[in-house]
């Protein structure tokens, strides 16, 4: 057989029918659901008198609207103060009950952001097609699964038919060669990639991330990178299977059982691009060139290194870009040539499906340990991605580090990533955020978001403005003072 990319293989393995008009019917193995994009789909099923095609492919959890304060969470759905949020979470609950779909309910220990929960449970496996009514479904591609976001009509389509009508995408390889410097994380890598190719650079492509720097990164870091493939315009991000992938999945609740494990692993080993596979486009970055990144504008491509300056519209490549920069500077309240480290912050948010896993929290805690949040800050919050991440962090004592430093320690959910619950920015406030979108108003009306890594967010919280986390030596503690 001709050599294939990972994407080609996944496509072929799920091709139900190729139609003459160029579209194809693709089989879906895993369908994740949350409360925001599913109500109209369930209603559509009901109106048409249709039933879900295959129940065990579906897994649901509420995440976008759930409050993150203990007070509101204690009473479950009934305790959600905002009425419209409560109705939406209740609707998911009702729909899951009436259609018999498995759900991790609001206060289940396994509840959390759908893209944290799926992999954590082993519900995302190599070789699967994974979809969800959420663009950050790209996250799951870190497992060599063909994963992408869909709209509500497609949620209904998958529920009813277990398939999607698709057109094959093109193949892009983004290779990061070399080794990342200390203090430079997966988040910095993906922001640097978006800075390089732009927010539309990946439109129409499935992006595979490869190269030695990616191979060195943990599963959680790979998820961070694939998560933001969509911010580069690509619905799909992928990383090939290796030992890191397989080790991560071993004994996860939804992973193959003991009898199936060997066969599954043997199958997964094929889920890499062939050595001589051809890509339609190849982009190469050097890991050594990547410094901690900070976005200064209102699009993720408006990014630079922490030691950089805010750009000048006069230096833009065309009119549309110049106008974009001018508008972004106005919205963000920044001026051309201003140093990134001079940007003062009002709030800090550590969380979201990009960076709310245990390694993210460890990374932030390492920086926060023994220090205190700057007095000038109104709020610094840490929101774990799932109940299990929260429990793990508490078992390690990370919450105590955060609380001692002056961070709030919250219940799991999307929280201030998109501010559908009570956690949001006020107008004009600057926020260092570990989430994935710095769009106007995303974190609150008039709010100003700067995307950074968890370590950079923690350092910014301590300093009150952006700082290069590499200049932040860890404070020796009893734990680290082993002779």
């Amino acid at each position: 057989m001709a050599s294939q990319t990972l994407y080609d293989k996944l496509w072929d393995q799920h091709l139900v029918k190729q139609r003459e008009d160029g579209t194809a019917l693709i089989y879906i193995d895993r369908h994740l659901l949350h409360e925001v994009t599913s109500p109209q789909a369930f209603e559509g099923l009901r109106l048409a008198g249709r039933k879900p095609w295959r129940l065990d492919a579906n897994l649901a959890t509420p995440d976008h609207n759930v409050p993150t304060s203990l007070k509101e969470r204690a009473a479950g759905i009934a305790g959600i103060e905002d009425e419209t949020s409560r109705i939406q979470v209740q609707t998911l609950d009702d729909n899951c009950n009436s259609f018999n779909i498995e759900q991790f309910t609001i206060n289940d220990a396994r509840q959390g952001i759908v893209h944290v929960v799926g992999p954590e449970q082993g519900a995302t496996l190599p070789g699967m097609t994974v979809v969800c009514g959420d663009s950050h479904t790209a996250t799951h591609g870190a497992f060599a699964a063909l994963a992408h976001g869909i709209g509500t009509s497609e949620v209904e389509h998958v529920l009813a038919t277990q398939c999607l009508i698709q057109r094959k995408m093109k193949n892009m390889l983004v290779r990061v060669d070399g080794r990342l410097g200390t203090g430079v994380t997966a988040k910095d890598v993906v922001l640097a990639i978006i800075g390089e190719i732009g927010t539309a650079g990946g439109t129409g492509y499935a992006i595979e991330f490869g190269g030695s720097a990616i191979q060195d990164i943990s599963m959680e870091g790979r998820m961070t990178i694939c998560n933001m493939a969509i911010e580069a315009g690509a619905r799909v991000g992928l990383v090939g299977v290796d030992d890191i992938t397989i080790d991560y999945l071993y004994e996860r609740p939804y992973a193959p059982n003991a009898q199936q494990w060997e066969a599954a692993v043997a199958d997964w080993r094929n889920l890499v691009s062939d050595a001589d596979a051809e890509f339609d486009k190849v982009v190469v970055l050097k890991a050594e060139d990547i410094a901690p990144q900070v976005t200064w504008g209102t699009s993720p491509e408006q990014v630079t290194s922490v030691n950089g300056v805010v750009p000048d519209p006069a230096a833009a490549s065309d009119d549309t870009e110049a106008r974009g920069i001018t508008r972004a500077l106005e919205y963000m309240g920044l001026s051309a040539q201003q140093k990134i480290t001079d940007i003062k912050l009002d709030r800090v948010f550590i969380g979201s499906c990009t960076n709310s896993r245990i390694e993210d929290l460890r990374e932030a805690a390492r920086v926060a340990e023994g220090r205190t949040v700057a007095k000038s800050l109104k709020q610094a919050m840490v929101v774990p991605g799932s109940g299990l991440v929260k429990a793990q962090a508490e078992a390690e004592g990370l919450h105590e580090i955060f609380l001692a430093a002056g961070f709030e320690w919250r219940e799991p959910g999307c929280s201030m990533c998109l501010a559908m619950n009570a956690d949001k920015l006020g107008a004009g406030e600057h926020c260092a955020s570990t989430s994935n979108r710095n769009f106007e108003g995303r974190q609150g009306f008039g709010g100003r978001t700067h995307l950074v890594s968890p370590a950079m967010a923690a350092a910014a919280a301590i300093a009150g403005h952006f700082v290069d986390v590499r200049d932040f030596a860890p404070i020796p503690t009893n734990n680290t003072q082993v002779a």
């Binding site: 139609r19 925001v36 109500p39 599954a264």
Partner: protein, 217 residues
């Protein structure tokens, strides 16, 4: 889904690149569990000077006089002219719902984000991709001439300007067919039920770990 065959419409130019779905319909309105009623909050943060919330009395809100859709000359527009990478960001289908609810049937831009593109066609919203120069020219014409209308002929795949110039566009045949017939694609897919069944059976035999319901093939 409402059919689209051929339609003439007033053009509103939205001169801004990377218009994301958060901008098209902000998150607070996604709390609705319906498909309709999003039109009044389309581009909410650009259209109004105050912060919008669900269930508000729209008639009392201060309009932003500078925003294009608030200008009387664009009232009733059904063709939106936009810049590159329109519809980027989240997968919310509320974005095309809001555009159609407001009255748009067509968006013309140099490029669109993938998920938004898909979602739009499923809701009777025709997206037309034209090259940057052509879009730029249409912007100039629409801004210069009050009451500027375009005739969009999906069957012939052409945008016809007031001067009679016909600009061809590409659209994939499946999407065109669905839009022209107003088809529900779930019904179409279910015609292939046998193919899905047999695929599923084979898939289950080859990779049983992907199925958790305990049934054997």
């Amino acid at each position: 889904m409402e059919k689209f065959i051929r339609q003439q419409g007033l053009v509103a130019p939205l001169d801004r690149a990377n218009v994301d779905t958060d901008l098209i319909i902000p998150k607070q309105f996604l709390k609705s569990i319906k498909r309709t009623g999003f039109g009044p909050n389309l581009f909410d943060e650009l259209r109004y000077l105050d912060e919008g919330y669900i269930g508000q009395d729209i008639s009392k809100r201060p309009l932003n006089p500078d925003f294009v859709l608030n200008q009387p000359r664009y009232a009733g527009a059904s063709v939106l002219l936009a810049r590159r990478n329109f519809g980027c960001g989240s997968s919310r289908e509320h974005a095309p719902w809001a555009l159609t609810d407001f009255g748009f049937r067509v968006v013309i831009a140099p490029s669109f984000a993938d998920i938004f593109y898909n979602n739009s066609f499923k809701n009777g919203l025709l997206l037309i991709t034209l090259d940057e120069d052509t879009v730029d020219r249409l912007f100039k014409e629409a801004e210069a001439v009050e009451g500027y209308r375009l005739d969009i002929d999906l069957e012939a795949q052409a945008v016809i300007t007031p001067s009679g110039e016909s600009i061809p566009f590409e659209v994939d045949s499946f999407r065109k067919h669905c839009l022209m017939e107003g088809l529900d694609d779930i019904g179409l897919t279910l015609k292939d039920q046998d193919a899905i069944d047999s695929f599923e059976k084979r898939h289950r035999t080859e990779r049983p770990w992907l199925f958790r319901d305990g049934k054997t093939a």
